[in-house]
């Protein structure tokens, strides 16, 4: 069962669409559920589909199509670094190397203590702030240097 809070949040999103078009809220619903749970499981995706009266397979297609959804257990803090061209020109590679060494993991891996995971990301539409990363999708950190990365990670418990 989806929790009361989750359902309230999804209901808020449903207000944006005609009553017979609940499926429009699937991206938002999966986002809400993932933000609470850290990642999406088949069961959670099925619950979202049920709640929006849509076929499970259609919800699954959405969950697998959009890159910001996680279908495997991610770290408590998922770090996504943009390595696309504008970031690459501003030495995003140095940030990636630094994170790899510091966390001792590669892209798509999770640290042993499950605290961090690392992802390579495409352009985040914020290239003026390159190099940059997001943590858990919703918080962006720009103009990174290795020192700044250290500072940011230190502040996470």
């Amino acid at each position: 069962m989806l929790t009361e809070i989750t359902r309230k949040k999804i209901d808020g999103e449903l207000k944006k669409f005609p009553i017979d078009q609940k499926q429009s809220a699937i991206i938002a619903a999966l986002q809400i559920i993932q933000t609470e749970n850290g990642f999406l499981t088949d069961d959670l995706i099925a619950l979202a589909a049920d709640y929006l009266d849509m076929p499970k397979i259609a919800a699954m297609e959405v969950a697998t199509f959009y890159n910001m959804f996680e279908l495997k257990s991610a770290g408590k803090y998922k770090i996504s670094v943009c390595t696309n061209i504008s970031c690459a020109l501003r030495e995003a590679d140095d940030i990636v190397c630094h994170l790899r060494k510091k966390l001792n993991i590669n892209f798509n891996e999770v640290t042993k203590d499950s605290k961090f995971s690392l992802k390579e990301s495409e352009c985040m539409g914020a290239c003026g702030g390159a190099p940059l990363m997001t943590i858990n999708n919703h918080k962006m950190y720009e103009h990174l240097t290795p020192q700044k990365v250290d500072q940011i990670l230190e502040e996470l418990d």
Partner: protein
């Protein structure tokens, strides 16, 4: 912070903010600030004086405004395509999905001047007879998505949105919709699919969104910057806007400058400014280095070598004559140390990763191109690889449902055209020409 405008304005009075005109003001994104510069007066004047949609469309046509999302289609003409006789709901959508590398202007509008975008959308809704609108914001700029929700709430509370706007009898609801990591959703029919709660796969056209859009209803899609320009045009007249720019390129345009410059950021400038001047505004090439090349409008526009771009003016005709295009105004600047082969590898990976997979030439071709360039960068290139890259790219172009396929071919063709020696060198020596001395 990406950059700040006060800084820009003081460097050069040629900067002319329209979309970003609140940027210098304190609390630039608040309703109060927008009201203080005459915000929401245009929609009230239109409703009070019952100015006809035809008259407003005429004004927009005179302005010469062309869509700022990349294709540059004249906005006034586009708006006259929406059938104004149909019953039932019509939609307007703002495309804030920017995810083409080098593009970050719409984010700044949403962050700094959201109410001007909202007023632009209300005016558009009035013109096209739409009752409902969505602003589709890509998920990576979550903080802007949330701040836009706040701006909507403010506007609603002040009765600029909702039932009978300002008590003047026009109803319009506007909502924020977030993507969650799919560049292809910037393509307008993929975006419509996404709003319907599906995978973002572009539709076959026709039918076009103007007749068959969201839930099969007439739908108009424009870029964020396009809508945000409208209140200024209505306030000052189409001719004033056209007079700011040059022939065929009316008004101002935001250029997002990224890569190897001292001050990356958004610069809203009159169309027709020499590239050279904008390079100076953005602090010049960083670290005192020399300019090598510039992608002027995002990777779907051809790269230009330094000698060419330094002669070019930034407007539709200027860039076209130089062999490129304005695109979304995403200038990616590369200094003399840049390896064009590795840069192309990263761009090719992007198109391969973001292809939605529906059309065989795009799905297979982008993967093939990426693998060949990767092989070159790994030191295993063969002399015939250059022709192979050109051949595969040409075969993707023009054979796909959406323009991503064409876009994917552009960097391959233009990088090889202008920097063929670097590709040859890499293949022959198994290393970059930039590492020649090491």
């Amino acid at each position: 912070m990406l950059n700040n405008n006060s800084h820009k304005a003081s460097i050069n009075s040629e900067v002319f903010p329209i979309c970003l005109r609140t940027s210098n003001l304190e609390d630039s994104s608040s309703l109060q600030t927008y009201l203080s510069i005459g915000g929401y007066e245009q929609i009230q004047r239109i409703l009070k004086d019952k100015i006809s949609p035809e008259k407003l469309i005429e004004e927009i046509k005179i302005s010469g405004l062309r869509g700022r999302g990349g294709a540059g289609f004249p906005t006034g003409i586009k708006w006259s395509f929406i059938p104004n006789d149909s019953d039932g709901t019509k939609y307007i959508v703002c495309n804030s999905d920017e995810g083409e590398p080098g593009t970050f202007k719409d984010r700044e509008i949403i962050k700094k001047n959201p109410h001007q975008l909202i007023e632009g959308m209300i005016i558009a809704a009035y013109i096209m007879g739409a009752q409902v609108g969505y602003n589709y914001i890509h998920g990576e700029i979550w903080e802007e998505y949330e701040s836009f929700e706040k701006a909507l709430a403010e506007a609603k509370k002040a009765n600029f949105l909702g039932k009978s706007i300002c008590g003047l009898g026009f109803d319009f609801e506007l909502y924020a919709f977030h993507g969650y990591g799919a560049y292809i959703c910037g393509e307008e029919t993929a975006l419509i699919e996404s709003i319907e709660g599906k995978k973002g796969q572009p539709r076959f056209k026709p039918p076009f969104p103007a007749t068959y859009g969201i839930y099969g209803r007439p739908t108009n899609v424009n870029n964020t910057e396009t809508y945000a320009t409208i209140p200024w045009i209505i306030q000052n007249g189409g001719e004033s806007f056209a007079n700011i720019g040059v022939e065929n390129s009316g008004g101002t345009k935001i250029f997002s400058v990224s890569g190897h410059v001292e001050r990356p950021g958004n610069y809203e400038i009159p169309m027709g400014m020499p590239f050279k001047t904008l390079l100076e505004l953005s602090g010049g090439v960083w670290k005192g280095r020399k300019l090598k090349a510039v992608i002027p409008g995002g990777p779907s526009t051809p790269v230009l070598p330094a000698a060419e771009i330094m002669k070019t003016t930034l407007d539709y005709d200027g860039l076209k004559n130089s062999g490129s295009s304005v695109g979304a105004g995403s200038l990616i600047v590369m200094d003399e140390t840049t390896c064009m082969v590795s840069t192309l590898k990263r761009l090719s990976y992007f198109f391969y990763e973001e292809s939605c997979g529906q059309c065989t030439p795009c799905r297979e071709g982008t993967g093939w191109v990426y693998r060949v360039i990767k092989r070159i960068v790994d030191g295993k290139g063969k002399p015939e690889d250059i022709d192979l890259l050109l051949d595969v790219s040409k075969k993707i172009s023009g054979r796909t449902i959406c323009a991503l396929g064409d876009a994917a071919a552009v960097p391959v063709l233009s990088f090889i055209k202008h920097f063929k020696d670097e590709f040859k060198y890499f293949i022959k020596n198994g290393k970059s020409m930039m590492d020649a001395n090491s």
